[in-house]
């Protein structure tokens, strides 16, 4: 199924990606080609096949509900562009 420019804009919005007008067309064409590849899956009948989410069919391991991490707020905020009193600062975006 070919992907149109409107589709690209919709997906880019869902994924919160800014895409320039010039790029929209080339993304539409690339994504259409990839979808053509993907649609080869329809060659095989998969009715009744259980979907496989994990290569070893394991479920998420549970751990005891105990505190194991210590508070490292300062260390973890070292990569932040701007902080104040342990809070992340962002530019003003609401008037």
């Amino acid at each position: 199924m070919p992907i149109q420019s409107e589709d690209v804009l919709k997906i880019a919005h869902l994924a919160r990606l800014a895409v320039s007008d010039e790029q929209v067309k080339s993304y539409a064409s690339d994504l259409s080609n990839i979808m053509n590849l993907v649609e080869q899956m329809n060659e095989v009948d998969t009715s009744g096949v259980e979907p496989m989410a994990h290569p070893l069919d394991q479920s998420q391991r549970l751990r005891a509900d105990e505190v194991t991490e210590k508070n490292q707020r300062e260390l973890l905020q070292e990569n932040a562009l701007d902080t104040e009193d342990g809070l992340f600062l962002v530019p003003k975006v609401i008037d």
């Binding site: 990606l17 080869q40 259980e50 496989m52």
Partner: protein, 486 residues
């Protein structure tokens, strides 16, 4: 010295003929002298490396060191290293200094290995040629016009040029094996869950697996041994004892059953590459292996299924990059939406954006069953084909890649043709099996890789077959022109 095996280097260190500081300085000097033509290393760790080497020397002085004590290595820049930038090859993380160290890096540190630096890679490990890196492409040391493969292309090129004896890699769809093949080195991706993913920047969590890249199977076995094991910090880590990977490495190949999937020996495979792989299989046969044709009937659907599963997982994993807490942030946003969209739009490169959009599309309302669920069902069929095949054989063999390394720029405008260069490796990730690539000859002066696929947790047999093959051949000892002087 650059072409010595890990055991030889380790022996020299243990006997104190050589110190770890000298060895580390030697490889640091090689990187500085030779890497300008390759671009395989993004960040050097010189000062800290020499400190670590001093520590290793103290251990060695006391006679306490193990086989990796004092051995220099490089880490793919996808592994978090506390205090040293971890970029994942992306502008998004160009300023990111991880507050903690990945478990597998820590394991190697504890074994005494010395980290010389971080290697270049496709952005967020998305690519098969290393051309998507924010830091520029890596050159193949066998021909600087050609790509080293990807995404662990920096690690592969560095080991091939003997800039370090070992390098770590990660493999989501072939990212250890394909560059290992293109650069003429040995690379192994173990069973999913064998090596911790903690601190390894996530691309597609149900497929990502770290592994070892080295000159030979024996070196790779030593490195992988140190990396393997259960990690409570990784919820998909497998809690089961690790085999001794060296114990059986010298075992004869007599009676080992090797399957050749007929679907991997078709028109899609370059005929000259096919010849080299066939010669390698003949060598295994002459050493006593039993070779038979097998079939993986659904394997031709592995690339299509992968390009649903991997982008879907990537779009979820990469949603954490929002410009708020760390990473790239755009200037002067108009509003909150603009802030997110431009931070992500400017911080990610084209291929990453393509895959995020692809993932968002296949997961969006109305398409989930047609694409995501379908791909997971196809994934099951592919896995079942492998399970069935391993009832009859111990190892599956094929070419690692359909051709030798291609020229830089050759596939950058056509994502689908780039994706198809992983056609022989992707099924292994979907099934979660261990796979490796060993050099098996040259076509047009470019290395060819033999792919060996093992049953779940059968890494020791893979390494055994790789090692026995390397006892009979010397492809793994060859060095690209221009990198062969001390």
């Amino acid at each position: 010295m650059y072409n010595k095996s890990l055991r030889q280097l380790s022996d020299s260190l243990q006997k104190k003929e050589l110190s770890s500081v000298e060895l580390s300085q030697y490889f640091l000097a090689r990187i500085k002298r030779l890497d300008s033509s390759l671009n395989s290393v993004i960040t050097l760790n010189e000062e800290a490396a020499l400190k670590a080497a001093e520590q290793a020397d103290k251990q060695l002085q006391k006679g306490l060191g193990g086989v990796l004590t004092g051995i220099p290595l490089l880490h793919k820049d996808i592994f978090c290293t506390q205090g040293l930038r971890t970029s994942s090859g992306s502008k998004m993380l160009d300023n990111f200094i991880a507050p903690y160290t990945a478990t597998t890096v820590q394991q190697l540190q504890q074994a005494g290995a010395v980290m010389l630096g971080k290697t270049n890679m496709d952005e967020f490990a998305m690519g098969s040629s290393n051309e998507t890196s924010f830091y520029g492409g890596v050159k193949n040391p066998w021909d600087l016009q050609r790509v080293p493969g990807g995404s662990s292309g920096g690690s592969a090129a560095a080991v091939a040029a003997r800039l370090a004896p070992l390098a770590s890699g990660t493999d989501t769809g072939g990212s250890i094996r394909q560059p290992a093949a293109f650069c003429g080195i040995t690379g192994i991706k173990p069973t999913y869950g064998r090596v911790s993913r903690y601190g390894m920047i996530a691309f597609a969590s149900s497929l990502d697996q770290a592994g070892a890249m080295a000159k030979s199977s024996e070196d790779a076995a030593i490195m992988l041994q140190a990396m393997s094991g259960f990690d409570p910090k990784d919820s998909t880590s497998v809690d089961r004892p690790v085999d001794d990977l060296l114990q059986n490495i010298g075992r004869s190949l007599k009676g080992v059953r090797i399957g050749l999937p007929k679907e991997f020996f078709t028109d899609g495979l370059d005929s000259h590459v096919c010849e080299k792989v066939t010669e390698a299989i003949d060598a295994l046969k002459s050493a006593g292996a039993i070779v038979k044709e097998i079939s993986l009937p659904n394997i031709n659907l592995s690339v299509p299924a992968y390009y649903v599963v991997a982008p879907a997982e990537c779009s979820a994993n990469l949603s954490r990059f929002d410009g708020v807490r760390f990473g790239y942030r755009s200037d002067e946003p108009k509003d909150l939406e603009d802030f997110y969209k431009r931070s992500r739009g400017e911080g990610f490169g084209d291929e990453v954006k393509r895959r995020i959009m692809m993932g968002a599309y296949v997961l969006s309302a109305g398409y989930y069953d047609a694409y995501y669920k379908k791909a997971q069902q196809v994934r099951r069929l592919i896995q079942q084909d492998f399970v069935k095949a391993f009832e009859e054989v111990d190892i599956i063999a094929s070419a690692t890649a359909p051709s030798v390394a291609f020229k830089a720029g050759e596939k950058t405008d056509d994502p689908v043709s780039m994706y198809l260069s992983d056609i022989f490796t992707i099924g292994v990730n979907l099934a979660g099996l261990p796979g490796m690539s060993v050099p098996c000859g040259f076509v047009d002066q470019m290395p060819v890789g033999l792919q060996l696929i093992g049953n779940y947790f059968d890494e020791s047999r893979l390494l055994n077959v790789g090692h026995q093959y390397q006892q009979m051949t010397n492809w793994h000892d060859m060095i690209p022109t221009g990198f062969g002087q001390e």
